[in-house]
Structure formats: structure tokens, C-alpha cells
Symmetry: C2
Subunit: 198 residues, 2 copies
């Protein structure tokens, strides 16, 4: 991010975002656990140029997956009637598109860390629905969060090949995305974890 943006609710880098309970030093150790190194940063950044021209097409695939799985779509439905909330889906989709670019930018400073916690709060009952004033379910259940890393990254792979990079580089971009998603999801799930167990 860092460029001014007009995406509603996208508060990355602003004072509206509370500090993350995880420190940058903790995050350095987490990188070691997932074998995340300088090469992964390099390949994430290489992917930026590739994905930036396909954000809408990527979102179409991801939203298609969520939309075709009732147990996932449930998190975007009305609390009362269980019907999909078009406005909510649309508002989140804009920030999701920006997230693709932010993930590919791979800049890990305090502002990035704080926004990861904010994204976690927005999936959790602590803050779900608030950003968009949606009348939806109370929480995105924990059980699906890490599991979605597979469809998200697997369906990204064909897009990573769209600029003609050698298969070996596509593979490295893909693996860097998997690692980055696992790191982010671990930060996001902090609000779900019992006090002292993180």
C-alpha cells in the first residue's frame, strides 16, 4: 500500500489500526519456522508484476470457489435469512484485491504487522461486519482459515505463469505465496487462540 487509496475500509498504515500483539522479533522466528528467506521475498516481488494485471480474474476464481461452497458462503450471508449479501461481498472484494498486491509487495514493517492483526480481528467475532456495517454471521469459523490457503494458492499458480517465466520460477513464486499465506494466517488467527497459548 502506502499510495493513497480510495478503497472503503482499507485502513492499512493509518492510526485506526491497533498495534499487533506479535512483535517483529517474534515474526523473525516465525519466518524461520516456515523456511521463509530472502529468496521468498524476491519471488513474491517478482510475482507483483505478474499478478497486478490479473487481479479481477484471480478474484473471480476465488469468489467462485467460495460461492460454490455453502459452508464457506455462509460467512457472507445475512444472519437472519441466510441469503448472500451482495454489498458485503463487493466491499470485501475490493480490499481482497488490494491484499493480493500487498502480499506480492512483501514489505514487513510494523504497519504491515499491525494490519495483519486487523485482518484477523475482521474475520473474528471481535470485528467481523463492522467495517462494512454488514448484518452477517458473527465469526468466520477457525476450521476453514488455514485450509483455504490451498485453493487460494493452487488456483493462483496458472496466473503466476502468465508472463512466461520459466516453470522453475513459477514454482518458486508459488511456494513463496504458500509460505506468506501461512505466516499471515498465523498472525490473523491470534484473536481465535486462548490467552497465553499463541
Amino acid at each position: 500500500m502506502n499510495e493513497p487509496t480510495a478503497i472503503p475500509g482499507y485502513s492499512y498504515g493509518t492510526s485506526a489500526v491497533p498495534p499487533s500483539p506479535v512483535t517483529l522479533a517474534d515474526f523473525e522466528l516465525m519466518k524461520k519456522s516456515v523456511l521463509f528467506g530472502d529468496e521468498d521475498v524476491e519471488y513474491l516481488r517478482l510475482s507483483h508484476d505478474v499478478v497486478k494485471d490479473h487481479v479481477e480474474a484471480i478474484l473471480d476464481v476465488w469468489y467462485g470457489f467460495v460461492g460454490s461452497n455453502p459452508h464457506l458462503l455462509a460467512s457472507f450471508t445475512g444472519k437472519r435469512d441466510g441469503e448472500p449479501l451482495g454489498d458485503y461481498l463487493g466491499a470485501v472484494r475490493e480490499r481482497f484485491g488490494q491484499w493480493i498486491l500487498d502480499t506480492a509487495r512483501a514489505e514487513y514493517d510494523q504497519k504491515w504487522l499491525d494490519y495483519q492483526h486487523e485482518i484477523g480481528l475482521r474475520h473474528h467475532r471481535a470485528k467481523k461486519n463492522r467495517t462494512d456495517g454488514a448484518a452477517s454471521t458473527e465469526i468466520v469459523p477457525f476450521r476453514d482459515l488455514f485450509l483455504l490457503v490451498v485453493p487460494v494458492t493452487f488456483t493462483l499458480k496458472p496466473f503466476l505463469a502468465k508472463k512466461g517465466h520459466p516453470a522453475e520460477d513459477v514454482e518458486k513464486m508459488y511456494l513463496a505465496w504458500v509460505k506468506s499465506c501461512l505466516l499471515q494466517m498465523t498472525l490473523w488467527t491470534h484473536p481465535y487462540v486462548k490467552d497465553g497459548d499463541f
Copy 2:
């Protein structure tokens, strides 16, 4: 499992294992979230014949990784003196070897589900150290659990190629392992998650 085994503390399929709070129906939906299908079962089972001859070598690599990362080794050290507990490491290693075979066997019944919860309890403060009577730290921190899926599966890959399967099949075995590990880790982390948030 199912064959009688003499591994201390390995209670898979016995009445000592409490029932999982997750149902087999929940687990079916979790499979959908991670794109886990019949082909993955097939490729996990194909991997059984490949990995069964290399269990000790695989464990050497994984234990090497944990041993060379102080923040990971910490979970196997004495609570008082911070020194690695050889007996504890050795006892867990035997069950870890059996886990490799169980994962490759890919039999998902109630006994399997219950033992996944048991493994989760054994990482959590609920039951860590009890099986081996170890005087170690109180909990394996949540933060590293999903992250370890990458080193575990990535370092498994060369072993999956040891029987000369085509690269395409090795890739499919690898991806099935990644999905299975994410499914298991999600089941394992149930004791870490706040009531009602799973």
C-alpha cells in the same frame, strides 16, 4: 495403525483416547475447503510404499531441523534448565515415525479422528509431557504449528521420489501430504482455540 504395536504411549484406536469434538461430517466439509479428494487418498497411499523404507532417514531430517532451531527445540527441553531432554525426544520420535505411516495410510474413520484430537491435546498444555512423564515446557506454542507444515512436507519431497515415480506423481503425493497435514493440524489445534470459535 490397527496392527498391534509396542510403541510406548501410542494409544491410537484404544479406549484411552477421548472422542474428538469434531464430527466426521464436519471433517467432510473441511476436506472440501482444502480441495482434498479421492485422488489425494490415492496418492497418500501410493506414498506409503515409498516412505515406509525411509522412516528413520526422514526423522533424521526433521529432528535436524527442530534441533537446529532453538525456538523449536525449546519444547523438548527441561522446564528448569532449558537442556534438551534426550529421553523425551526419543520417545516422541517413535510415535512420530508411526505417524508418517498412519498419514500415508489415509484411513479416516472415528478412531483416526479421535486420535487427531489426542495428538492436539499432547501439543497443548492440556496433555503435553504426560504421555512420557517429561519435565518439559507447558505447551507447544500455537504460532509454529502450521508453519512447520512447510519444512515437514518440503523435506519429504526428495524421499517421495526414491522409488522412481514420474515427477508428476511425486508432485501429487507431495500436494496430498500438504493437504493432509493442514487438515490434521486444524484438528490438532482445536484445544488452542477459544470456545465457540472453531
